[in-house]
Amino acid sequence: MESKKLLEIKDLKVSFYTPAGEVKAVDGISYDLNEHEVMGIVGESGSGKSVEAYSIIGLLQDPGKVIGGSIRFDGEDILAYTPDQMRQFRGNKVSMIFQNPMTCLNPVYTIGDQLMEALTCHNKNVSKKEAWDRAVEMLELVGINNAEKRMKQYPHEFSGGMRQRAMIAMALICSPKLLIADEPTTALDVTIQAQILELMKDIQKKTGMAIVFITHNLGVVAEVCDRVSVMYAGHIVEQGSVSDIFYRPAHPYTKGLLRSMPRVDELEHERLIPIEGTPVDLLDPPAGCAFGPRCEHCMKVCLKKPRPLWRWETTAILRPAGCT
């Protein structure tokens, strides 16, 4: 299916200038996202997956800075936006849900106030009545019963799963084209996680928005995503369709991750095959391939050459995997 490109990221570089030195949190990543597509970004803590998302939505905080590359949304360069334009862009076209809903909701306002504010600050000509109705409609969409009553309640009166639902309602109230979900289910229990994933899949089907789904849980990726980017130490090491990544992984890191996970459907007790070593110290990254020191296929060239280039692999689908 030929679909339109919604988001194009080219060679994005983000660094944090800390007292201890420069941390290259995101070091040259590129990807495209089509409309209606769900892209999963997987990686461990410190791999730069959240930083990348924050720079798309313009929420990068000091001392973080985009130092190179471009982000185009619907053909427009969003890095060139003024703060005012950015404010219009956020919420209207792109919105975000976060890992911990409790820290993102304001405890002293009712859920209804917060939902309506999200709408009225982006559309000045919406009346209060319309905003209220729309907010109730959104709460119903995300599966909150008694929406009218819930509108008058405060975040602490909601359970964890309910808060995440409210966050999703808030993010979707302006019908954005792209939703960035930063570990939306990590803080939740599995049974609640299943509810939220089901809800997100459902809403995605109904509204047709694109989602960038950031997580460290490969199971969640398998469940909801169309395409996957695997990140390690600020690079995308492998990118492909969900079945390529899970059934035909090319990069040793992806392979290692898949192999090291215990599975609930395993038949016999097999010893896990871990990835040896520890995650990279981004203040002092290794000279060659960032994964080199932990890679079982590491060759001398991996430790010397600056960084493996992306290569188009001639399997069923062309895809880049950053390994020599």
């Binding site: 461990e44 969900v242 079945s243 609930v264």
Partner: protein, 327 residues
Amino acid sequence: MDERKALLEVQHLRKYFPIKSGMFRTEYVQAVEDVTFTLYAGETLGIVGESGCGKSTLGRSILRLHEPTSGKVIYDGTVIYDGEKKTQISMLPYRKRMQIIFQDPSASLDPRMTVGEIVGEALSVHRPDLKGKAYRARINELLETVGLNSEHSNRFPHEFSGGQQQRVGIARALAAEPEFIVCDEPISALDVSIQSQVVNMLEDLQKERSLTYLFIAHDISVVRHISNRIGVMYLGQMVELAESYELCSAPLHPYTQSLLSAVPLPDPDKTRARQRTILEGDVPSPLHPPTGCRFHTRCPYATEECAKSAPEWKEHRPGHFASCHKL
């Protein structure tokens, strides 16, 4: 079955936490409610459940880090807690044999002590005979057992990564040379690629030292991997207990069934194709648990009977316990 030696027996264990509500009223959070099981020497019993189901409280009550409210705990033939007779024995000799590994290594290691001191403290309490050179040698030996080296003993916890900190926590637990370790979510704070390293190490240590584990975690796939038997907890009660293969392939209790089907598999075709039972609603508060079967408010098969009377804890197949009216 009975040839195995029972190392730990827990009978009708309860742990309530008092909460002041109003000036004179006290309410109780029923964190652990009537849990009974036997742990055999050399096995790993996994405890799974969602947050707030009382699995950590259970682990700590067994070690009497929380004083239980009632019930009985028998360790290796000795009653170490009896709620009725108010048996209060000194735990010190048992602390040596029963140890615990905590969830968050950065919170459970004292930031002002070096790793050598942390491991050494446990050593000096339980092995006061070790002095000077022998003492230091033992610390280094313990660090090497967990994959660190002797140079690390002069460093502070913050200088280590999460995985290494957890190794220090394990070395500290091993210092007393215990035979039984409660592993309270030992890997949930770690990165995916590090988790398997620690899981493998725990398995190796178990083989070398014939340890018995009570492995508490919320991630059923990890528990499934490491445990011989699994107990599933819901709202303070154990709802099912069976061998891990049987529990995962033929679960009896509806909660276990939905828990298993809620776990996303790292296999896109399989995970999208399978039938799932998605539970409605949230876990009720342990302050006012539902009457009858505690699961009836979310159970897809609940009937009137379930709301009225609590189901019995019964052995439905050999070694497979569950509590549900529908079985």
